[in-house]
Structures are given as structure tokens and as C-alpha cells.
Amino acid sequence: MSYPEDRRYAKSHEWVLVDGNTATIGITSYAQEQLGDVVFVELPAVGSTLERDGAMGNIESVKAVSEVFAPVAGEVVEVNGALEARPELLNTDPHGEGWLVRVNMAPGSDANLLTAAEYEAFLAEEGAH
């Protein structure tokens, strides 16, 4: 699996795609693989404030309910409503149609995230663990 280079990654397996002040957040392909088939996604409300590394929602798969952590700080401006009816988008297209939220990002809060290559190296390390 190669990870898109246009974005940054968190060790808790979320990705962030920054465009000006707007950051789109999703979970990585590795994360969806670990979760298994997703059946329900709970997202924060538009207007709520995310703290970096704070819990921002839950993803329920056939295996377990897992928390999603915010890789950047900011105010939620849009959530992916399509996931309500089609949670499987997280499995089929985690880096695209399966995005979770868009935030008005607090400046600089995306510092120290991993590049695609660094994230892949991190996964290789994790796999060896």
C-alpha cells in the first residue's frame, strides 16, 4: 500500500490534507484494515472545537468501537454526511470519499506530523513489534 504524498499522517493512524486554513481529516488505509468492516461512524458536530490528540469521534466495526483522535486542532466546519448511510466508504476509499471532517485549522497545529514515507516506515516498525 502506498500512501498519498499530498498529506501528513499521525501515529494514531489519521491523515490530514491541508489546503490553506482548511484541513481535511480521515483515517489511514492501515487503520481501516485493522478495524475491519465499519458499520457506524460517530463524528463531532459542525462548530465544535477539536484539540490536537483529543478524541473527535468513534468508529464502530464488527470487531470493536474505536476512538478517532484529532491530528490537528481547529473548529469543525464540515462533516462527511455520506458516512451515515454508507460507513463502508471508510473501508473502500479511506483516503478519498471516506474522509471524516474538515476543520478550520488552528495555525501551526499540524506541526510534527509524519510524511507518507515516514508513516510507512513507522508502520513497518509497528509490524515488526
Binding site: 485493522q34 468492516d37 458499520v39 457506524f40 478524541a55 464502530e60 464488527v62 470487531k63 470493536a64 468501537v65 474505536s66 460507513p87 463502508e88
Partner: protein
């Protein structure tokens, strides 16, 4: 393949048995003039038509539900090795005593003088749980484990407020039961997760770091933890918390591992819930209801729910005068029938018997660990207490996942272990045999699991296609969760 314990028979829905005009009753002849309900109820409560009501006889109904009951798997049928759930045998003596008319037919509003025996029983149970846990007092009210957790954390919140030291953070290890973070959030706290050490135990360095801010109200931790491993530093952790004015919450789901051997009170616990339906053999799951008494240290006694049962000489009373109490958490006095069963269990085993129970649970888990460790990978090889957690990494090499192994176990006539929990283990198979079974049943389970491991190596397709002997084959769990059909309609057949 031994499918003799499988359940190949299918049973449809009761609507399939419907036959127009068939009834299960006989009415006596009318002694009054007949009224036409279509007129008397019109415009008030009359429905045009009741669709699809099954028309069946008494024996149709009885056989249908009897057959359904025969498709069930229960502790009365065989080993039920659900890790963390402690599906132990429910002794029949408990049932006998809970059905005594003097206990079963009590009314919760009867005056105290008429229910002295029941109050004494509750008092006795509290004394027994105090002796077992080494804590100061116990409330018997909460109706389940998670309810007990909430009761406990509400007391922690009340105590923080009372000390003029409101705190907003609760620390929880990443191996915790999911109910712990849910409880903390429900009680108004923010949860901060602590990563476990490489041995799967509590990380004291991380704990110290998180305590620095002074905002921590409590640490919620399961002992032994969800890997079945004792937390060796629990007393240190308690001292660190207390030094910072924080509380130690011990999740008592695994109390059955050390009853009569160690006491949470001595570990420094401030609050702990006890699942009577796990450790103390009261019915579980569909056979419940549960009961989740909460034991507290002296620091939290004044916040216990009302009422408590108090003894004065030879009289027992319900005491409501507790100004700092968090109030009631359950109607009346909790699930009283379960309190009767738990006390029956405690009294029939006695001090030595309870200790033997815990030792038996640990022995059985380690017998299974020894029997399976050649075939299944142990991600955390520390000493196991009452349960053992394997993962599916060896079987994954053949393309078989833990869920496939679980389905295949059904063909061998066993309930599967707990799957994919704790979350720190990928592909977990969490096995808790309890002390209930003898060596023959454990050997049969080990043989089935080893045979499945062989199948994974030699014929993985067979395992991936399981189960074969159950009334329904593998179900589409994803579709069932995404678009559940919750109501039968003729068109949905």
C-alpha cells in the same frame, strides 16, 4: 468431525406456522348480549386490520419456543470460555434459596419490621463483601457492573467537589474494558488513555507524568488486568494517586482471580465494583439480571447511595440519613434476588471454598494455556491468572483470522472465547474457563482448538467456511449491522 454437539436443526419464525382460523383458546358461551366492537370502539381504539398476527394453537407456540430454547448454548450445556465474562456454573442451591416464598414474594414497600430477614441477608452480604475486599463499606444497589462503575465514579466526583478540588481527568489504561471510559465520560470526566508497558501492565512512569497537572480525579484499572496478568505495581500506583489527591478505582470484573488470596483494600483501592454475576455465580446474560455492588474505602463511605442497611442490636433498618450521599441509583434496594443467590454461594463455599474457587479458576486457565501454547501465539507471556489471551498471528499466516477459529469452534460444540479484546492485542482470543469444569471438559476444548490449529495449517479453506453444523451458516455480520431488519414482514421472507 464431531458435530454431535452442533445444532443442525432449523426453526423458522412462528408466522410460518400460522394457519387461518387456528386458535389456542376456547371461550365459554356468552351470558350477555354480544356487542359489535367495530361499533363500540370505532373512532377510539379500533384498528382497521391487524396484519400478520400468527394464528396458532397452544402446542404450536410451545413447540416453537421450546425448539428455539434448544438451539441456545448455555453454561448448563458445556464450557463457555468467554474471557472477562466469567461464565461460571450457577449452582442450583442458589436458585432453590432465591425461590423461598419468604424471599421471593416480598414486596419492596413492606415495612421494615416485616422484612427483618431480608435486611439481615443484605447486611450479611455486605459484611461478606467487606471481608473479601478489605474495603470499608459496600452498596448493593447497582444493577450491573457498568452501573456499579457509574455509581463509583459519581462518588469520586462528589468527593472531589466536597474537598473543593474539582478535577476533570480520569486516567484509563489502553487495555481497559470499554465500559471504563464510557463510565468516566458519563460521570462528567474527560478520559486520558495510558499506554500499557510492553508486558501489558500499568506504566508507572506514564502515570507519574499524567499526575503532574493535578487535574486527575482517578485512575480506573482492572486487577488482574484484561490480559489476565496481575498488576504488580498496583500498591505503588495507589500511593502515587493518593499523594496527588486522586482516587484509585479498581474494576472488579476479575475479582474471581484472587478472592481469599488478596484484598483490593490492601492494594490501596478507594472504590471497586463487584460483579455478583461473575465472581459470585449469579445468572448472567439473558438469565440475569446482574448485580454490581460497589465497595469503597473510608474516604468515600459518606457518599454511598441511600439507603444502607444498618444493624442495631438484633434489629436491621434502612438508613436514609446520609447528607453527603449521591442519592439513590436504583429503585428500591437493587436486584434483591441476585443478592440472595450471591450470599448462598458465599456461605456454601465458605472462606476456604472461595479461595479454592479462585485457585481453581487460575489452575484451569493455566491448564488451557499449557495445552494450547504450542499451537497459538501468546502476545504477552507474563504469568496468567484466571484467563489467558492468545492471538491469531500464527493462523493468519495461513489466511485464517480469529473470527474463523471462533466459527469453527461452533462445529466442535463449544461456545467461542471472547474475540478481539483487549484492544491492545490484534486478533485476540481471550479464554476464561472458570473453575466450574473438570479436566475432561478442558481436555475436550483443548483437543478441539488444537484440531482447528491443524486445520488452519492443512486446510485453511475449511476453517474459513465454518460453521457447517449450526442451524444457520456464517451470517453476514456487516450487513446485519449496517442494515438490520428488526421486524418480520411477509415481504421480507
Amino acid at each position: 468431525m464431531n458435530g454431535a454437539r452442533g445444532r443442525a436443526r432449523r426453526e423458522g419464525v412462528i408466522f410460518d406456522r400460522s394457519s387461518p382460523g387456528r386458535v389456542g383458546y376456547q371461550l365459554p358461551p356468552l351470558e350477555v348480549p354480544p356487542a359489535d366492537v367495530r361499533q363500540t370502539l370505532a373512532g377510539v381504539a379500533l384498528r382497521g386490520e391487524i396484519e400478520e398476527l400468527p394464528e396458532v394453537s397452544e402446542v404450536d407456540v410451545l413447540r416453537h419456543f421450546h425448539r428455539l430454547s434448544q438451539l441456545n448454548y448455555s453454561v448448563d450445556e458445556g464450557l463457555y470460555p468467554l474471557g472477562s465474562c466469567t461464565m461460571k456454573y450457577n449452582p442450583r442451591l442458589n436458585e432453590e434459596l432465591a425461590r423461598l416464598p419468604g424471599l421471593a414474594q416480598l414486596h419492596p414497600l413492606q415495612p421494615e419490621e416485616q422484612v427483618q430477614g431480608a435486611l439481615e441477608l443484605m447486611w450479611e452480604l455486605e459484611q461478606a463483601l467487606v471481608a473479601i475486599t478489605g474495603m470499608a463499606r459496600v452498596t448493593l444497589q447497582p444493577a450491573a457492573g457498568a452501573h456499579g462503575e457509574l455509581t463509583g465514579m459519581l462518588m469520586v466526583r462528589a468527593a472531589c467537589r466536597d474537598r473543593n478540588s474539582p478535577r476533570s481527568t480520569v486516567l484509563i489504561p489502553d487495555s481497559a474494558h470499554g465500559t471504563n471510559p464510557a463510565t468516566a465520560v458519563f460521570a462528567g470526566f474527560k478520559v486520558v488513555e495510558i499506554a500499557s508497558t510492553s508486558a501489558g501492565t500499568l506504566d508507572l512512569h506514564a502515570l507519574a507524568r499524567h499526575l503532574e497537572g493535578g487535574d486527575v480525579a482517578a485512575l480506573m484499572v482492572t486487577v488482574p488486568n484484561t490480559l489476565g496478568v496481575f498488576e504488580p505495581e498496583i500498591a505503588r500506583a495507589a500511593a502515587m494517586l493518593h499523594e496527588r489527591g486522586a482516587f484509585l478505582y479498581i474494576d472488579g470484573a476479575n475479582l474471581n482471580a484472587f478472592v481469599g488470596i488478596a484484598q483490593p483494600g490492601a492494594m490501596g483501592a478507594d472504590v471497586m465494583h463487584i460483579n455478583l454475576h461473575k465472581t459470585f455465580s449469579t445468572p448472567h446474560g439473558g438469565g440475569g439480571p446482574g448485580a454490581g455492588p460497589v465497595a469503597v474505602s473510608q474516604a468515600l463511605v459518606e457518599y454511598l447511595p441511600v439507603p444502607l442497611v444498618e444493624r442495631t442490636g438484633d434489629r436491621w433498618t434502612l438508613s436514609y440519613h446520609r447528607p453527603k450521599s449521591i442519592g439513590k441509583v436504583r429503585g428500591f434496594y437493587g436486584n434483591f434476588g441476585m443478592l440472595v443467590r450471591a450470599l448462598a454461594y458465599i456461605r456454601s463455599l465458605g472462606r476456604d471454598g472461595l479461595k479454592a474457587m479462585a485457585e481453581g479458576a487460575v489452575l484451569n486457565a493455566n491448564y488451557i494455556r499449557k495445552g494450547l501454547e504450542e499451537d497459538y501465539h501468546l502476545p504477552y507471556p507474563g504469568a496468567s491468572l484466571h484467563e489467558v489471551v492468545f492471538d491469531d498471528s500464527r493462523q493468519l499466516a495461513h489466511g485464517v483470522k480469529n473470527v474463523d477459529i471462533a466459527k469453527r469452534l461452533l462445529d466442535y460444540g463449544f461456545h467461542p472465547p471472547t474475540m478481539s479484546f483487549p484492544l491492545i492485542v490484534h486478533g485476540a482470543l481471550m479464554i476464561e474457563p472458570t473453575e466450574s469444569d473438570g479436566v475432561e471438559e478442558l481436555d475436550a476444548f483443548i483437543a478441539a482448538m488444537r484440531q482447528i490449529a491443524r486445520e488452519c495449517r492443512e486446510n485453511p479453506e475449511l476453517v474459513r467456511g465454518a460453521p457447517y453444523t449450526t442451524p444457520v451458516r456464517r451470517l453476514d455480520e456487516v450487513r446485519a449491522a449496517r442494515s438490520p431488519i428488526l421486524r418480520w414482514r411477509r415481504s421480507s421472507r
